[in-house]
Amino acid sequence: MPDSGPARSARQDAFVELDGVEVLYGGDGGTLALRDASLSVAKGEFVAVVGPSGCGKSTLMRLVTGLWPASDGNVIVAGREVDGPLSIAGMAFQNPTLLPWRTVLDNVMLPLEVVVPHRGRLRRERAAYEAQARDLLSLVGLAGFEQRFPWQLSGGMQQRTSLCRALIHQPALLMLDEPFGALDVFTREELWGVLQDLWLARKPTVILVTHDLREAVYLADRVLVMSARPGRIVAERRIDFARPRRLAGTYAAEFQAVVQDLRDQIDESRRGDGQGAGDAA
């Protein structure tokens, strides 16, 4: 394991840790989605994962949340080996997947009917929980829309609702898989701000998968770059801009330089990765 030496020191206070993980879909001769993937995310850290389409980013999310088993290697979350669904993670996807028969408020409160400490209390302390949900909704600018149905909302509003649903039970871990991928640029940039505020207010550990390098640099403490399939982390870059970050800042020269740098790193890692894979074989 050539990478275990330097990485160990960074893993002292890791909340999420992957070590030499391999994921195989469909048994022998199936699709190798991840190979030798290692990463570690500190508690309260905001990490973005970027990489080419089909490289295994969604697989990574399923792996960390225990929805899909690793065929090799270790996955450790909150100090425990993951061997089944986590039961603490909030998730949001590109598709908001709201339930059309529930109002916005009831959609947001869905996790409370499922997550263990809350599901038993929900009936008795409904008012308190409902107040929490309303607070969260007003934080993302949806005050007054609590009793609407999802299909009465715009795509951006549905995605805000989906974010609230991912956060209502105050998860320690928030997994976002291209949550803004289907939105127009203006809505997307607006929601970057919303997400940053939510994160600053509660500081969950966040893993955000995205295609958009600007999004990654704007939001994350650290950006991880994945190789083409079978995916693994081939580069990473720390982003040190002060918080809260402003949208105007994304047009500043330093910001553009980081984005450009990251883009170069991706190109380089792709080329390097091709050779590396050739060497290894």
Binding site: T65, L67, P85, L86, G90, W101, V114
Partner: protein, 282 residues
Amino acid sequence: MPRDEAVVPAPVRRNGSSRAAALAAAARRRRRLEAVLPWLLTLAALALWEVAVRGFAIPEFILPKPSAIAASMVKWWDPLLQNSWQTLMTTVVGFAAAIAFGLALGTAIGSSSLLYRGLYPVLIAFNSVPKVAVVPILVIWFGIGSVPAAITAFLLSFFPIVVNVATGIATVEPELSDVLRALGARPLDIVRKVGLPRAMPFFFASLKVSITSAFVGSIIAETVGSNAGIGHLMIVASSRFDVPLVFAGLVVTAVMGVAMYGGAQMVENRTIGWATRGMPAA
């Protein structure tokens, strides 16, 4: 319904309210027309029928006039009522069993891929058996009466319910079940919170098909092995060449079928308005 208010107000501002009012009036006229059209068509068809039978002098034992059927209904109202009540009851019993069984089996099949693969082919095979042929067997087992009729109604009507409920539950978006599983949801939670509500539109669609099949089932069984019910009445009437009474039986059956269908539709509109995004279902 709320449809107008939602659609019309937007363009009002510029041209004043007269155009909006005209649009609303046009929409109202259209809805009124839509409401009376089925009745008008039925009346027209009956009138045409009456005229044709009179014009071509078709004998009553081949095709009775609507007026003769109506007269027969008035004359035989008591047996018609009693026998249609009998048929309605056996159908409702069979249909209720089909709903309970269909929901349970559909839920099981839809939420377990093992059952889906294992049981589905068996169900398809079962469904392709002509169940009418089973009626004599049922009569041997349970004797003449309403039991074979209720069972036949059940056998003919549960299959669409199973298939539709299973489909609704099996097609829950994988991402949505990921969201819930990552929260520690048990499979039963996912079925209850997402699978079943989501299957409801499929379920109601299947009810509308099934209720017709249930009537077919009970009436066929009554014609073969029963001494009561509309099916029995029609057999007796036709053996006496009382063709208007046979047709009267058909009319009564149709009325019951439409009434049950309407009931299902009403429950559907109340419970799953979300599926049509707030518009009343067709």
